[in-house]
């Protein structure tokens, strides 16, 4: 693909603007997505940070859950950060009642695993496949991955916990590269989208 891939950012709630800016910096054509019909024509999709319970409810309410599940099953490349990682998990360890995910990565996640806001932190994290040294990880009431299936690659750990994973063309991080101005993780995703197109 020579032109920029078109990558949507699920804009139900959360830090959508930061992802749009990071994707643009990584040379993608970024667009906000809120409706099922807006999924057509996308080369990839980002599920932003936010509140996973809210995103889950709004997705169900506006008929996005099933179309998104189908798109992911059909191979749409997706990247999720924080709440986005939760939404891409096949299983949540401690879901709120009625909280459903889109799935796509064979893993079990624990919500708010690193603690509440007072425990939110920044630390350097080395991510496999990201050149140029560790990335600044911003962890905000962050989840971690409890366990992964045989086909899920672990790309990063912090303090003994899995914080970045990939299965096929679906990528997820517990932390928020979109808040740092370092676009290397977004570049990793955009280059995977290009390669798959």
């Amino acid at each position: 693909m020579t032109s920029s891939p078109t990558i949507g950012v699920l804009a139900l709630q959360g830090d959508v603007r930061e992802h749009l800016a990071a994707l643009a910096a990584a040379d993608a054509a970024a667009t906000a997505v809120r409706r099922p019909e807006e999924l057509a024509g996308l080369d990839g999709l980002v599920i932003p940070g936010g509140e996973s319970t809210t995103i889950s409810k709004l997705a169900a309410l506006f008929g996005l859950t099933e179309p998104l599940r189908a798109a992911i099953r059909d191979g749409l490349p997706v990247y999720g950060t924080c709440a986005g990682l939760i939404m891409l998990a096949d299983k949540i360890l401690d879901p709120r009642s009625g909280q459903e995910t889109f799935g796509g990565i064979d893993m079990i996640v624990r919500r708010n695993a690193f603690g509440r806001q007072n425990e939110s932190f920044e630390a350097f994290v080395e991510v496999e496949g990201v050149p140029g040294g560790p990335v600044e990880g911003v962890f905000i009431r962050a989840p971690w991955v409890e366990s992964v299936g045989a086909n899920t690659e672990v790309l990063a750990e912090y303090d003994g916990h899995i914080v970045a994973v990939r299965q096929g063309s679906v990528l997820a991080t517990s932390f928020h590269p979109e808040l740092t101005g370092d676009h290397r993780v977004h570049e990793l995703f955009v280059s995977a989208v290009r390669a798959g197109s």
């Binding site: 709630q13 936010g50 319970t53 809210t54 007072n118 920044e122 630390a123 912090y158």
Partner: protein, 304 residues
Amino acid sequence: MSTASPSAAASPETGTARVKRGMAEQLKGGVIMDVVTPEQAKIAEDAGAVAVMALERVPADIRKDGGVARMSDPDMIDGIIGAVSIPVMAKSRIGHFVEAQVLQALGVDYIDESEVLTPADEVNHSDKWAFTTPFVCGATNLGEALRRIAEGAAMIRSKGEAGTGNVVEAVRHLRQIKGEISRLRGLDNNELFAAAKELRAPYELVREVAELGKLPVVLFSAGGVATPADAALMRQLGAEGVFVGSGIFKSGDPAKRAAAIVRATTFFDDPKVIADASRNLGEAMVGINIDTLPESEHYANRGW
């Protein structure tokens, strides 16, 4: 596979400006609801709230009851923290940094240094840099917003007039802040020094706002939102999300109204969704006309 280096693992940094401001970025596009019991907190979470504000009485009742309004009972805050998994905010009085210390010790996710409670200091706001827990503060204009940010606030909400169910002051304050930001955009470097003096705000922050065309922190709206259309109005005017206080649990059907306000906040630019969300909600809170409210009962005048 590779893992984090031991040195980085050994020194995670908590309470940084990026972590505090980044937390508010995660709330954007959402609704933060006032709750006074764990049961209300669950209703709010089920309706799709991105966070709850734990307080003893909603502003409408503070107005009715009078007296000194203070930080909430720690047991009540604990109960709300235990009942939901979304972030829990709580209010301290303006300048009452010990109430803020208590709220931090209780583990709330955000502290609102709020004009809705009775101010504890008529000169000084709390030094918010001294805390790990981030703060949100109210503002009626850009200078006030920037003074709060200079003191360490990681999120700003336009004040409006809490507990009235009347959106007119929320509109006034948000328009004021957005209008002043637009004017800064048109100034040249020479003029920014005088602008900082007029705004009574630090020059560095004024320059940052002129460059960004927005505050360096997330801006929500508060104080008077009672209907889905009110919430959508504030978003169309440029608020990145809304606080709803008395508007939900002083209405006829709180669960339904809460969910409707969440929907209208997400699809704030789609009148059909707002129309659907506005149907059959039962009675809205009664509301107060601001011109009949004595000046001394204007909460927005508290803080400076």
